[in-house]
Symmetry: C2
Subunit: 281 residues, 2 copies
């Protein structure tokens, strides 16, 4: 089948590489406003041809929208306008309620499958794309009852080829869970970077002393605003809810330290340690 | 030379393995209140003989104290009491002001070198020890003017064998910098784990959705209270100072979201991105 990738960055590029490897596709159109990304994607064989939106969409069996979530929401209705009942459209966005709401009354709604692969890095652009990025991670499909069975089947094939395991949930539940599991980690990491940059004026000392622990906690703070501001905008209520809880949790550490209540501090840490049992299952 | 390792856990064990490999020592005494750790360390050749404190210390050229910082502070004076002017004692603790203060007037002060290797993981115990743990990381020596040149030279040899690069600073500066670079990351990570555990009651969802980003940010939350409560106790003032700044930084994200000031949100993220330039030097 022919595939169009709208947005030839990290996620779109990694998907194209893997789906070619697995021979799910023998021809990929690349669509991107960023000419540099497009040329790079062509050069490293992520795509086979640069295309304008309308041409690529009309000539593909599957269209993958892999651009920031607000841009995806604004482009999706016009993509659905262009396709026939034999074509399928999927996105890869980190928020889902907004995008499914934007097309709920569209006559081609059922040709769209709301998709979110639970993988990403702090890097971006086609040069960061890798074949085995997704292997072993979860892939969420939202509101599957609103997609045609054959469209769903194609996306499930994509998931299998990416070597991911599918999870089904509604868009609201997805946005709530990702606020906990992914979005708050990014805010924490950004705020931690800003804390250190604010307090620690001696940049050389940061560089020299930074251990693997710090680098690991602050890694996500390298993530680009082009992707993340739209996610926070789309998932504002859930993110605020979790952020308030996180600040409350930090205040408990502050209070334990201020009052030199080290039994309480230990209790807080012992509770946090439970995350090991959950993540290392 | 003969070495005593007081505390045959992750750090002490990793040092023993590497110093044996590099033939800096041909015999290591293991001293530990935890008999299980001691037997494990013997079994996997981290140590050559289990010893009582006094016997091990008296029969070693170099004594490495690798136990939680408060225990190190309480044991150090009696270790110095036991040694001659031909022996050297070093610690590996994550806080330094308390330990150097505790022996400032000790007649053997100059046989002690305050040391901190900038490496660790969320794991503990001799079974987690590895040979090449320290390679490429910074090793801090504090208040070197208070140590005898020959004692300092031995510790510098240890650093070279561990394939680390030495950094010299005073104990107060060390404790300030590590509050920024290491201690706050742990509190953030613990608080993030507690946030998710509090808000996200569906443990299976955490497990299924948790992406590499989340795992990376929350990794340090697996770290044990036996090690970390004493560090926070020792470095209380600095940690509180940085924690207050961190909460203030998180409030900026909260305010930007609440007011839907996405330009400000972008500004905060762009600033955080600067950490890339510093860490990736």
């Amino acid at each position: 089948m022919k595939i169009s990738i709208i947005g030839t960055g990290l996620i779109g590029g990694s998907m194209a590489l893997k789906l070619k490897d697995k021979k799910m596709t023998d021809f990929v159109f690349g669509i991107d406003q960023n000419e540099e990304n497009l040329n790079k994607a062509l050069e490293i064989n992520i795509i086979d041809e640069k295309a304008k939106l309308e041409y690529g969409v009309k000539n593909s069996d599957l269209i993958i929208i892999a651009i920031p979530v607000d841009a995806a929401i604004s482009i999706l209705p016009s993509v659905l306008d262009l396709i026939t009942e034999n074509q399928t459209v999927m996105d890869v966005g980190s928020t889902k309620s907004g995008i499914v709401a934007s097309i709920q009354n569209h006559p081609k709604r059922k040709r769209f499958v709301a998709f979110h692969p639970m993988w990403g890095t702090e890097n971006s652009g086609p040069q960061s794309a890798t074949r085995d990025s997704f292997t072993g991670n979860a892939a969420v499909i939202c509101d599957q009852e609103n997609s045609d069975p054959d469209a769903l089947e194609i996306v499930e094939k994509v998931i299998a080829h990416l070597e991911m395991h599918p999870i089904y949930m509604n868009a609201e539940a997805h946005d709530l869970h990702t606020a906990y599991i992914s979005h708050i980690s990014h805010i924490t990491s950004y705020a931690l970077a800003n804390t250190v940059l604010e307090k620690e004026r001696e940049e050389d000392t940061i560089f020299q002393l930074a251990s693997s622990g710090f680098s690991s906690t602050v890694r996500l703070a390298k993530s680009h605003p082009e992707m993340w501001v739209p996610i926070f905008r789309q998932n504002k209520e859930n993110v605020l809810d979790v952020l308030n809880e996180h600040i409350a949790q930090l205040r408990k550490f502050k209070s334990a330290l201020e009052k030199e209540n080290f039994d309480y501090l230990e209790e807080l840490i012992v509770n946090a340690n439970k995350i090991r049992g959950i993540l290392d299952k």
